[in-house]
Symmetry: C2
Subunit: 189 residues, 2 copies
DNA sequence: GTCTATACGACGATAGAC
DNA sequence: GTCTATCGTCGTATAGAC
């Protein structure tokens, strides 16, 4: 769907850069990766790359946004909501990208950081989705109720996903799938 | 206990640098903080600072180690083992230091990183402590048993602590104390 | 052992020509 | 829209004074 007008080529190049950046970070990790390497992979100069993005942090933020949108699209395509096991499997498997996510989340604590808005939006949305899933399972009686309300349970479930990834980053023997199953077991009646 | 011999002064300066680094990162965050700023706060030149540390990452790793040792000493002093609420309260309250911890954990995924050994040791030790605490509470019957074994429960509890901090970093409205209470409520009989 | 001065290469960022 | 050239700052390395 190549757009005509002044935006056609630019938009394509922009996405090519984002894809290249994703590859570089997946391959070589977040640390020690420079924009010049990303630019080289696109056969472009550094200022040429910077024409499309305000800063390195801006580029990284858009990489994250791109991943989220892709995951969201995959979810909608399948129709049903993701199971907890699938959610925990989403970001994992690629240490460089998990590292990117975690490092960005830390940096985004500064309200002035470009990714701050992304995460500030992402967590409430994620919580809502988890709450909806929990409520429906509470109604059908497959999940314990009356101990911790769904809203606060969602906070915990998301924390487990993020926290497990952090542990896994440094100790690959941690079994993320087992952890997901254990969490669900604790919630069952 | 100022050591005599050739090490007295140097060791004191080394600790002064570590304390100064801790302050700078607590004040200005992990991002955008340079060794030159830390050196300036110690009234020393940059190479003077680097005399005590192999690299920036080495310094940061030792800052983390210092915090862990301080927390451990505080725990031993009190005699009793930390409650879960106290553990979750430990690192929090200072965004810059939480940011430091998270960023370092992400970077330490690389086995070549100086902090890799630190985290690779820290998590198993932490898990053992949590397992011991869980076992004693399982024996006295104040905690559910038979659903998830203590070893795997420990992995989850630590994940919640780390994950909650990540959420809190970007959304300060998240109530970490409430989360800690909720986790314990789920484990109770 | 403790420390200063100086310098190096790489980084992200910007100015201005084409 | 993309380039060359350049800037200031970063982490790091070396030489050498005391």
């Amino acid at each position: 769907m190549a757009k005509r007008g002044p935006y056609g080529k630019g938009e394509a190049k922009r996405k090519e850069i984002l894809r290249a950046a994703l590859e570089v970070f997946a391959d070589e990790g977040y640390r020690g990766t420079s924009l010049r390497k990303v630019a080289a992979r696109c056969a472009i100069s550094l200022p040429g790359l910077m024409h499309y993005f305000d800063s390195k942090e801006d580029l990284l933020t858009q990489v994250l946004r791109m991943r989220d949108e892709a995951a969201h699209a995959r979810q909608e395509e399948r129709g049903a909501s993701l199971s907890y096991r699938e959610i925990i499997k989403e970001g994992s498997g690629t240490p460089g990208l998990v590292e990117l996510f975690v490092s960005m989340a830390a940096a985004a604590s500064d309200p002035a950081h470009p990714a701050h808005a992304h995460f500030a939006r992402r967590y409430p949305v994620l919580r809502e989705q988890v709450v909806a899933s929990l409520r429906s399972r509470m109604d059908t009686g497959t999940i314990r109720t009356g101990i911790v309300p769904a809203e606060r349970l969602a906070v915990l479930l998301i924390a487990v996903v993020d926290g497990i990834q952090l542990q896994w980053l440094v100790d690959r023997s941690v079994d993320m799938r087992q952890a997901a199953d254990d969490v669900m077991a604790l919630l069952e009646v």
